[in-house]
Symmetry: D2
Subunit: 349 residues, 4 copies
Amino acid sequence: MATKQDFLRETIEHYDLVSGDVVALVDAMARMAYSARDLHRAAQIYDRMLRDKDCAVILCLAGSLISAGLKKVFADLIRYRMVDAIVSTGANIVDQDFFEALGYRHYIGPDYLKAGMNDAALRELHIDRIYDTLIDEDELRVCDETTHKIADRLDPRPHSSREFIAEMGRYLAETGCKSRDSIVMEAHREEVPIFCPAFSDCSAGFGLVAHHAARGKEPKLSLDSAKDFYELTRLKIKNRETGIFMIGGGVPKNFTQDIVVAAEILGDDAPMHKYAIQITVADVRDGALSSSTLKEASSWGKVDTVYEQMVFCEATIAVPLIAGYAYQKRGWEGRPARRWNALLDRDQA
Amino acid sequence: MATKQDFLRETIEHYDLVSGDVVALVDAMARMAYSARDLHRAAQIYDRMLRDKDCAVILCLAGSLISAGLKKVFADLIRYRMVDAIVSTGANIVDQDFFEALGYRHYIGPDYLKAGMNDAALRELHIDRIYDTLIDEDELRVCDETTHKIADRLDPRPHSSREFIAEMGRYLAETGCKSRDSIVMEAHREEVPIFCPAFSDCSAGFGLVAHHAARGKEPKLSLDSAKDFYELTRLKIKNRETGIFMIGGGVPKNFTQDIVVAAEILGDDAPMHKYAIQITVADVRDGALSSSTLKEASSWGKVDTVYEQMVFCEATIAVPLIAGYAYQKRGWEGRPARRWNALLDRDQA
Amino acid sequence: MATKQDFLRETIEHYDLVSGDVVALVDAMARMAYSARDLHRAAQIYDRMLRDKDCAVILCLAGSLISAGLKKVFADLIRYRMVDAIVSTGANIVDQDFFEALGYRHYIGPDYLKAGMNDAALRELHIDRIYDTLIDEDELRVCDETTHKIADRLDPRPHSSREFIAEMGRYLAETGCKSRDSIVMEAHREEVPIFCPAFSDCSAGFGLVAHHAARGKEPKLSLDSAKDFYELTRLKIKNRETGIFMIGGGVPKNFTQDIVVAAEILGDDAPMHKYAIQITVADVRDGALSSSTLKEASSWGKVDTVYEQMVFCEATIAVPLIAGYAYQKRGWEGRPARRWNALLDRDQA
Amino acid sequence: MATKQDFLRETIEHYDLVSGDVVALVDAMARMAYSARDLHRAAQIYDRMLRDKDCAVILCLAGSLISAGLKKVFADLIRYRMVDAIVSTGANIVDQDFFEALGYRHYIGPDYLKAGMNDAALRELHIDRIYDTLIDEDELRVCDETTHKIADRLDPRPHSSREFIAEMGRYLAETGCKSRDSIVMEAHREEVPIFCPAFSDCSAGFGLVAHHAARGKEPKLSLDSAKDFYELTRLKIKNRETGIFMIGGGVPKNFTQDIVVAAEILGDDAPMHKYAIQITVADVRDGALSSSTLKEASSWGKVDTVYEQMVFCEATIAVPLIAGYAYQKRGWEGRPARRWNALLDRDQA
């Protein structure tokens, strides 16, 4: 009978955009058609955002991207000042990035598992599956417990997810980050804020529920998503030119687009996001936010239409090309470090 | 030149599952292939959930469903005790259902708008577009302001989104609900809890940001998503047999599936969701949560695999058939009213 | 060990649009959004084609539709004069419809087979799989052999696929059609031409290859796809107002759209197809013909844009609704029988 | 007012797999997830086919690939003996490759045209649109006329599409090929057979219809698709080990898979295709051939399951990576030239 070790053998390795060279490939796509041409244009828009020194770049992450081998790409975007704030689903940041920072890994699942016929057997072995990738569920429980510990360390008051994630960064700095390329760790170093507006919807949720139950009627930490929204909106007001690089849709897309309207509600006539690109395979015909075009967002006054581009390509292929192109074009050299965590923490104090 | 009134002329009308008759159609699909056969099986599983008197039914809503004409369907599911709790994106509940309860409407957009070529013009006219559907943005601002008022009415402490939405229901009861078929109003009457775990990610977010800014250093209401998670998990522990009817994926899907694990973390060995159906057109090959199969969820110990069915069909077509079938089969007759809002409020006190 | 009989137990049953009642359902979709609204409009356009007495209706079939339970729908469209010509992939007409007319059936496969993990076992048992549907391969071989026989009956000269299929109809009339609702048989009775422009790409191809090999250097029948094109173009010239009801894309879509241009090349200034609807889940972003919009076809001068509608819905759900609606609205009553087979055969002679 | 020249300004340029370097990128994908991992595996399988000296490689082309900038890729696959036979839709070979060989070009359309709002204007200007790419319709008419001329040059007997396309190659050789990288021209030089089993379904169809009409009762050329099937099957029998590299699905996929069965019908127990890869974004849930998995094909006895891989990625991105990888790995060096055209022509004589 197969054991856990039989399945958890070959680790996912993260793509390294620094060592590759994709500029010639992506430039050749400019004069092709369909997704190639769109991908080239998106890569160019990202490069343009980085060269526009007034423009702050917000990276939006939805979908299981870190488990898929894109962790180092995003860590490098932080390192090279190619991103100023991140809005993500909780899973990418907590269950996947922080999880690897605690020393755990994701594993390559054999192709036949995709079909779902062996999920009961995986269940028995405490292996969780993300399409073609495997996780040791017992290790994931340790991650849940660690978020419980972090919740216990914080003041029993409403926090933004950003504050919580900053504390996760401090925790890693103190206890030793076991991954060379952790987004949470790198964001800690560079003081880049990370927001997970649906923060209970991930491993951290389990830690928070446990914290909540353990505290009973005692004062306890709470996660205030309105505070997230307030903080990100303040950054928009502070730095009025913005560009967004969205991978997938979901809450990160909606939340980030919405800050333009929120700024207006706070009395600030902030401009629409000047640049916007989105990588997604979602089909526009279901009318949902994730698939909705950036043109549609302009009817809401959220995204300007001069520099916007959707790319129809699964992220593991598109991200290395778009982020790699922008890295290698080096338009990011000399970009200022915005270090927004420090700014927001001062506000808080 | 076109005016706002030129565009906002013909209203969306909500589908009425009570008056239709789809049983013969759906039953005929049982012995066809592809989506028809899957749809039939999903409809049967929903009927089976309702007949299983121990089973509590959780409805998950993602995608712009209310603006698309499905409001009365969900209001009726509450009325006829075909659902015991709802987990939704904020947009469905606040921007769309509550918005209509305030007396506003959604409008049918001409087909050519889908292409996105007129979004700048719509922007000028303060018209927001959802694919083929239009909204008066000025009316939406009133909705934002109303959520600000409601935030001001509540105690300056952490709330679950459920508590906030229950207050929205009370507000409608007091001020007069201007829609015959409001989900928020009906949930208020039947004490059905509604959770929006990413609550700041909608019109309510704008109200909450305004509240947050207006209160300054004064005590203020916060939205605690961990409390949402705690509350829904408590319901799972209270009523261990559960079935989920998911429309779209996103946070509602993940959040609801996760309560099985959260119950375990709280020391309760609650069983997996016994029944699960999902309507989605998302493609499994992007590895994202929204598209992930219910079989995959079983590797995580969240969903049992005996009665699960995905249906590949856009919701405006699939929901009338599946919900209509279950309504007309009348397996819901005699189901108990669980009135979980009252239960959770007592806990709170 | 499982036997063939274990798998081939429960037959596919064909949807009956005569007995259902979908008008109220489809009419309610008119004021919803997304696919529901599009589906309603497509149903209305089909009804309108039928009421336009000058308009000839061409039905295009791609995808495995007959094996999926839609055979009786198309047979009834012929019976009730709701279609004047059919352009199809070969599989629908030969491997599936003619196959059932020979007395064989399609079978419902258990859900787990979809995953493809048992295909080697099916191979051993001589069972062929179409997604969730099963076929006895030995019966399919009889179908191949029957097309060989039919090839042998015909003059050793170039034939259009229409001529060959008409002979298949005569063969059924002579030998006894074993299915109540055969498209080939019904088309024979009503003299409705059926074209399969890629005719060798199906069970008939196997029969033709066998005929070809057996004849050696002797005179043999050949299948002239240019003749198909010529014949269908002649019908367009003969009956200048046309509407097309397309299910799926592929060769039938392209071929039928092209006859407008072909008519022009033959010196006839035939108008574009006046009405066009297409049911497909193909994604427009791959730039392929199957997914290309009917608006794009208008740039080629093939389809007029006043009455055109794409519907994003898998065919087993959309066809019962659209065809059922048009049947029940009875706009087809009093339509003339065009009996084009007789016309084309006279030309030939 | 815009003129034709305003739109037809910037030409599509074809991707050059010789000059790029994608091996490091594609190799890095091996240990990622989702489409990246699948793409790597497909690239490896193609490389493996080329190193298997007994294996003949059949390339299948569906979708508008040549107009999209992939012409030089396929011409180079012929040049470097990375392909032994091609099965394609007619549009790629005649309307696009042969069209460019006559000296015409495809043009980059501005992004806003995709929406389809300007197709009536394009119609007026005799511009045809393929998603984001434009064609001068008057030039396309010259292409149609040239196929008419070629039909007139050939004996008035049934031809396979391969014979017709070989004649197109001879025509280019005689009259001067105006494109450096023509598939038809390169196939002529290397005697690589090209089959278009649905040959009337393209520009050639227009030429053939014109030929058919002009000849009247006189002897005329016909296009025998059964002969196509017979010829390709003979190649399978001649060279029993085969691998298929499929881009898109449609008739080329079905036709090529079917030759295994056809060989059996001709009394030869040819093995299944040993290697098979397919690039497609089609969704498996519609049950159609184009989207059907290669595992499903194995239930039909057509494709072996050891080395098969589907890749979910639009072709303009996937083809440069997969074909580029195989080119740069140089497994094709020393492959024999099979020169199958000569072989088949000898049979014919």
